[in-house]
């Protein structure tokens, strides 16, 4: 019962965010940094999304046979989209893409961990210094003790 209540609450929050997205699309369909006509950009050199009026297809982009660049419409060529056959997917050669994503995540995690460890060390040093000076008698230990999840920090 508690789970269902929480599920309903979470679904309501998700619904609100989706509604915000729909309202955004309806009222002002542009993203920060771009005009309502959208902008042209190339993904992996082949996919074109949202060509603004009057803008030509970027150099190096191939269009499918018979396709014309329609302003504001999504265009892509077969070269930029992996095939739909299951055999075409998950090729070992494309593992580099997965590796790059993992590298980005590992790099950010490492950076945050280093910053977090440094901040904790500084806080601890400050606390030790203040205790040594007799600055804060009877002060609560904060979160340095055992945490709420049973893992010592």
């Amino acid at each position: 019962m508690k789970f269902l209540r929480h599920l309903a609450a979470a679904a309501a929050v998700v619904g609100v965010v989706v509604l915000i997205g729909l309202a955004w699309d309806r009222l002002r369909p542009s993203l920060p940094g771009e005009g309502p006509g959208g902008r042209a950009f190339v993904m992996r050199g082949q996919v074109v999304k949202g060509l603004p009026p009057g803008r030509a297809v970027p150099v190096g982009v191939k269009l499918p046979a018979g396709a014309k660049p329609v302003p504001g419409l999504h265009i892509n060529d077969a070269g930029g989209i992996p095939g739909l056959q299951l055999g075409d997917l998950l090729k070992a050669a494309d593992l580099v893409v997965l590796r790059n994503t993992a590298l980005i995540e590992v790099a950010v995690i490492a950076a945050v961990m280093i910053v977090d460890a440094g901040l904790r060390k500084r806080r601890r040093a400050r606390r030790v210094a203040s205790v040594a000076l007799g600055d804060a008698p009877g002060r609560k230990r904060g979160r340095l003790g055992s945490s709420s999840n049973g893992v010592r920090r």
């Binding site: 979470a10 989706v18 999504h74 997917l89 090729k91 790099a107 490492a110 893992v151």
Partner: protein, 171 residues
């Protein structure tokens, strides 16, 4: 990676097994969150998965995220109430989680809106507009930055539970 239900410290069982000492809820949180992270990493790597797996995995991630939010709803309520009191780390984690929730939900929703394989397979033909394409790309880029931050802000919990879960039972 925030915890909603406080779990007890590792209870060493009569058999002396350390893995058995980790509460079931903690085990569920750990493995479920690890699966979401792995699924997200694969789904983000569009060039590797291709469109079919990308779309179905994305829909699955949407369901998993709703479940993740449900499992940690206690934490959401508790931390939101406590926001008035000045506690730096919790505030930062709350803010990161809020931004990530917005980005993830919009990413999945825009992905569904521009679906070319998964929804048409079910007989649903979503209306594709440039806005949803651009929103999908933007939110995907935001989430790839925020997901590792979300994970890293709980690295002590992850390291502690991971050590206990992966530790071999003494023979």
């Amino acid at each position: 990676m925030h915890r909603s239900t406080p779990t007890t410290p590792a209870r060493v069982t009569a058999q002396g097994g350390r893995r058995a000492g980790v509460a079931a809820r903690t085990r569920l949180d750990f493995w479920f969150d690890a699966a979401i992270l792995a699924g997200y990493t694969v789904a983000y790597s569009y060039g590797f998965t291709g469109v079919v797996i990308h779309e179905w995995l994305g829909i699955g991630l949407g369901v998993a995220l709703l479940l993740h939010l449900t499992l940690h709803w206690d934490w959401v309520v508790r931390t939101t109430r406590r926001l008035i009191s000045p506690r730096g780390p919790d505030r930062l984690i709350w803010l990161v989680n809020l931004l990530l929730m917005f980005a993830m939900v919009l990413c999945v929703a825009s992905g569904i809106a521009i679906s070319r394989v998964a929804l048409p397979e079910l007989g649903i033909y979503p209306l594709q507009t440039p806005f949803w394409f651009r929103l999908h790309v933007l939110t995907a880029e935001v989430t790839v930055g925020l997901v590792p931050v979300h994970v890293a802000l709980r690295w002590r919990w992850i390291a502690g539970v991971g050590r206990r879960l992966l530790a071999r039972r003494p023979r």
